[in-house]
Point group: C2
Chain length 295, copies 2
């Protein structure tokens, strides 16, 4: 009844109100699943597979991509037999109700269609399984992938943007180009099925010059993602870091409207005033974050 | 990215912005269905069935109730063999993927559970069918029910509120009580599965005194619905008619915030300024709506 204020609070990152009570709609756990693993000699073949699966009208429960570097660090950490010479791997899960069909079941049929698309995009191997233990191992590897990156003995800055899935091949290529330009080591492990890229830009955080390059490259990556129809952030929010990028996506009028909405909720400006929305005359120092404390 | 303005526009009834472009998420049509019809000698038994179905964790695709008056007018209009001596009827549909099970299928099993609940609540008959033609007839009757009410040669004012489904029996009883108090003829046909009541208050619109009674009864009905956890409107909106009821649901602070949000979008107050939100000093004349034109 009236404007949906709950909707408005989504994405406001504490700049409008404090949520003190939530009603949840629970959905039952899926009754069955199949987990597939496709291995590629090129990232572009893997991202083309993602676009192909979605274009075929299949919506996997999960569709995660790891590039060659991530395959190596995860394999070194967990010894699951991943091919360390591969350039990309897709972890694909379908779930739901498994309906018996002649010669198999509905989930089997869905996984077969996914395999057909993967092989048409040059997957060198494809395996699917309904084994719960194998599934748990694969997901453990995926969940701990960013942690495993610590084996390279570097800090990393994870970027975050959602792009149209059909643009994933171009976006990954551009991320590579930008990181070469700034002489940065980059590796990718991300929610490919959502078009949600997460390039991990590796660096030594003790070196302010490297930090500067990381920040410059991040800005160019996000600007490129937005230019192909993507977003400033996929799932991790704007916070302080991406405040300056908001102008990539929103006009000055859009931003003024959001400032005005914030003012309606908090006329005294007490709700995370220096988050999300850029302000005239306020410079954020991302190279030396502690210097922002006075804000 | 940032506050979800699309969420905020939902329910704003043109008071914030004009929507010029929409992206839709399409879902496939259900592959199979079962349509059930339960007949009762009492409204309370029918509404208890609704509460029972939802409490059992079943979410029918549709769960519609018609009271005795509606059964009669629909039967007179469409001759579908409805029992004109019954006091209530539930039209229940389940749909989705029909999974073969031993001795039937998943939709059959769901419909059997619904029948068990209906009979436990004194349904005098229960029929279920997968026949498409029969289904079309039943839905035609439901869709044209309010039109059929014209056979009674009266105008009607349809009220609209969503209430917790467990409160439906009490709410229907209270609607009857209020309408007796105001000497109004009322009949009910509504989306019971959503707890969305639609009492049709019948009257002669040429008689201002009857119009006054309709408006007074409507206010009491909505106030009662809100008092048991319901809403000022279910699906038809606030508009002008229910502006005065907004204070049943929202505090003065809530309403002031909504006014302020509106002002952010339209500082010059050009977006449906006299809709949804009550204003100090503005009286709406519902008995003679044309007198509001100067607003």
């Amino acid at each position: 009844v009236g404007p949906d204020l709950a909707g408005l609070l989504c994405g406001s990152e504490g700049t409008l109100a404090i949520v003190t009570r939530v009603w949840c709609r629970l959905t039952p756990k899926p009754k069955a699943f199949r987990t597939g693993l496709a291995v590629y000699n090129s990232s572009r073949d893997a991202t083309n597979t993602v676009a192909g699966i979605i274009a075929a009208g299949i919506t996997p429960a999960a569709l995660e991509m790891l590039d060659g570097v991530f395959i190596k660090v995860v394999e070194e950490a967990f010894h699951l037999g991943f091919p360390t010479d591969a350039q990309a791997m897709l972890l694909i899960e379908v779930d739901g109700v498994d309906i018996p069909l002649e010669g198999g079941s509905s989930l089997d049929a869905e996984m077969q269609e996914i395999e057909r698309i993967a092989r048409a995009n040059n997957a060198r191997t494809f395996e699917a399984s309904a084994d719960e233990k194998k599934r748990d191992q694969l997901w453990l590897a995926r969940r701990k992938a960013f942690g495993s990156l610590g084996r390279l003995n570097l800090s990393h800055c994870t970027q975050d943007s959602c792009v149209p899935r059909s643009k994933l091949p171009d976006v990954l290529e551009e991320i590579g180009r930008i990181c070469r330009k700034y002489d940065l080591f980059v590796t990718n492990c991300f929610h490919a099925g959502d078009g949600n890229v997460h390039p991990a830009l590796c660096f030594d955080e003790a070196d302010p010059e490297q930090v500067r390059r990381i920040i410059a490259a991040s800005g160019e990556i996000v600007a490129y993602c937005v230019s192909v129809g993507g977003s400033v952030t996929g799932e991790h929010g704007v916070g302080i870091e991406k405040m300056a990028y908001m102008k990539f996506m929103y006009s000055p009028e859009d931003l003024a409207l959001m400032h005005s909405l914030r003012h309606s909720f908090s006329p005294e400006d007490r709700m995370n005033p220096y988050k999300i929305l850029p302000r005239e005359g306020v410079e954020i120092d991302l190279v030396h974050p502690c210097r922002n404390v006075s804000l």
